[in-house]
């Protein structure tokens, strides 16, 4: 009688003896959505965006020996220059093309084969010169840490913290990573959330009053 009842309620032989089997559909539903929520959903909300031109911080910092402050400096009033504009970049690039000049000098050597990295740099520089320097247009660089307008962030006040505490690229970055843009908000995945700002402020004993960031 007992066995007949089991057979009636559960035909699955594998779990024939499992008392929890009656909860199996619940667990399946639970696991499916859990998997969806953690593995699929985050990427579903993001769009990958490439930078408009290949740019290597590594080439500029390590190979050309330029300190970060050449391009990212503080203005006299303490405001941060941010990303250099085309005019600033053109002060080095206009008229003379670093990669092209190097290739020209090296290509005269016997058996010269252009390395892949050099070819990529040459193509990027050519594209940059043609599209932006010669036309005077600004490069629509994608910013990984773009804060909303209602946040007042002072780089000067955060000067003592190393840049890559917040920024995902630094002087050693050769390939700028893909920017993952949230389809709904339009912000980068890496944009720092308020909780992170508050957490850091709390750790460092700084005020978390609203007016500190929201003027």
């Amino acid at each position: 009688m007992e066995e007949n009842k089991k057979e009636k309620t559960c035909k699955c032989k594998l779990f024939a003896t499992c008392k929890c089997c009656k909860y199996l559909p619940f667990f399946i539903g639970f696991l499916v959505t859990l998997g969806f929520g953690w593995l699929i959903f985050p990427n579903l909300m993001l769009t990958d965006k490439e930078q408009p031109v290949w740019f290597s911080h590594k080439v500029h910092v390590e190979e050309q020996g330029e300190p970060c402050e050449t391009c990212h400096y503080f203005n006299e009033d303490g405001s941060f220059s941010g990303i250099p504009n085309t005019e600033s970049c053109a002060t080095c690039h206009e008229g003379s093309s670093y990669v092209a000049d190097r290739v020209e000098s090296e290509s005269g050597e016997e058996g010269y084969v252009m390395p892949v990295e050099t070819k990529r740099a040459l193509d990027a520089e050519t594209e940059y010169m043609e599209k932006y320097v010669e036309t005077g247009k600004e490069v629509p660089w994608l910013v990984y840490q773009y804060q909303p307008d209602n946040v007042f962030f002072s780089h000067k006040a955060h000067e003592s913290i190393t840049c890559n505490t917040c920024h995902i690229v630094d002087g050693a970055t050769n390939d700028n990573p893909v920017l993952q843009e949230n389809k709904l908000t339009g912000y980068s995945k890496n944009t720092m959330k308020m909780a992170e700002c508050e957490s850091c402020h709390a750790e460092k004993g700084q005020s978390n009053a609203c007016y500190v960031c929201h003027k």
Binding site: F36, D77, P148, D149, G186
Partner: protein
Amino acid sequence: MDFNRRTFIQVAAGGTAGILFTPVIWKTLDDISIWSQNWGWIPKLNRGNVAEKATYSKMCPAGCAAKVKSVKEFPYATVGNEANTITKGGLCPLCLSGVQMAYSPSRVRTPLLKTAENQYKEISWDEAMSIMVEKIGAVRKKKNAFGVISGDITSSTNEVLSALCRSLNSNAYYLMPSDARTELFVWNSFLGGSGQPAYDFADVDFGLFLGADVFESWGAAVAAKEARALTPDATYMYAGSVQTRTASIGDWLPVQNDKLTAFALGLAFHILRAGKRSGTSDFAQFRTFIQEKYTPIAVEREIGIGEKEMEAIAKRLLAAKKPLVVAGSSFSQGGTSTAFVASVVLNRLLETAAFGVIPEAPTVVKNAMKRSELAAQDIMQPIIQGTNFPEVIITYEANPFYGLPALRNAVEVFQHSFVISMSTYLDETAEKADLILPANHPYERHDDSYAPFGTGLVNYNIVTPTMNSGIDAKTPGDIVLSLAKSLNVDLVFANMQEIVEAKTKALGATSSELMQGLAFTKPANKVPTKTILGALLLKTATIKENGKKGKYSLAPQFLLNIGTVSLATPPLNLITIRDTELSYNDMFVAMCSTTAKELSVMQGDKVRVSSKVGEIVAKVNIAESVMPGVITAPIGLGRTAWDHFTKGKGANLFNVIEVVTESGTNMNVWEYPAVNIAKV
């Protein structure tokens, strides 16, 4: 395992429970909240390259050397220019709002012709020019039928306007009332001086201020404040009816404003007794006058300050290495000659290096009037007489329909004239004018500033265009040059830029330095020995009262954050007005508890302040920073034009300010108007 209804519900329940342990709901809600902050109609910050251009901001009477900051060529802020040796990076509350005012909703956007009361028709610049030529051409042969009212004493635009005025058979050139005009007139007409008194605040170790709110609004307040910042050990004393903002940083000596001359001459008695002399031709006469009339007993009887206290103040002046005495009206206009003359006397007896003379600027426009000539005419004279008022009048940076005393009477006089208002804003004068010409904002024009009143050096700054708001407005000087050309008056120059260049050259200044916002400076001259102390004037100048005098004295205050006669409170400054100055639309008059008790009024009660010329209603603020028998309130409120930010807030004190005549100089003065007060 069957898939039946029960199974489905179980899967769904499990799925729902599972989703709660994932970021799906929470992240989506968070994203939606962020998405809702970025709807299309929400303004976005214009991020980009930040740049700054130097100019000289003329939002306040003295002006401030400034840099206009822009992002992606969109101007957004004004900051001080530290490289300028006059204002040293300082900026007044009006110049600070300079950029915002360029976007003001009260800007005049196109030439307007009045068709009926408060009705205007938009016209083109060509039509406006034709109307001006017709109106002015019709009166050009009549003596003084064309006139000008100027509110900016420092600009070379005065040269263009005054040259045109003379060419049209007129000397009717009037400056809006100010302490600058009073001092220029008295100095040049009664004391044998030339040029303009210079007040060098650098290294002053003791400053005595007679009614002049030096560090707030008198003269070149920013230059004075910056000089004070460099001399932290300096001490100051303010004598006056009200503990002004200047008084708050030094000692306040409560002296009724109309007794300040007696106070200063009482100090002169002690300084003479200490052996100080002056080589002027009227010194003996002056000494006799003081020794007879301003003895310690007489002074104590008049102002209530005893001999010991007076002597102690005189000793502070005598002990100072670089003392400076400054006299002025509490609201920088309508002052008497005597307080100014008394301050000159003290400075000269003390032989202070802080007091000197700034010579007249060379004129570059042929036939133009010098500054002392501009100051010679008193606008109140034809208004009071009601005759000889110009038939056609141009107002330049002036707002007489708001800022003339006994306002109602003054406005009536204008009814018979054709008023052409060159104005940046639709102010009270523009609103009543027959023809309104949109003047560009001070940051959009070529202009200059020679030696603002209250500065201590010969100094020259230029105004260069730093922005363009896109409004079809013109530089006032350029409008007048075009007008002159149309009237066949040859003023040689084609535009203001050429005039500024010529002035730069005539002064020996370097154009490239001026363009960077650097001031051209030279030391002021020493006071010439040929000038006099003004003994005769001090003897004869008294106020003639017209009929019964009001019981209380009104001591208006000129607070730069609230605005000037010609510039209403910038919207950004509204939050700086204290709730004891203005609450919603009600202005406060401050009085001490003794006065309040006498009037049987309490804090917040409404009172009617009246005089023979008009009345206002205000609320009572009880403050012990006002002497008994005196009430005070700021000028600059009670606007009837402008925009919704300022219109209708508070009351205009000029409605109750009565003009009296000073015998001896025959000047019209209104420094301490008498009023009556009654509880409403």
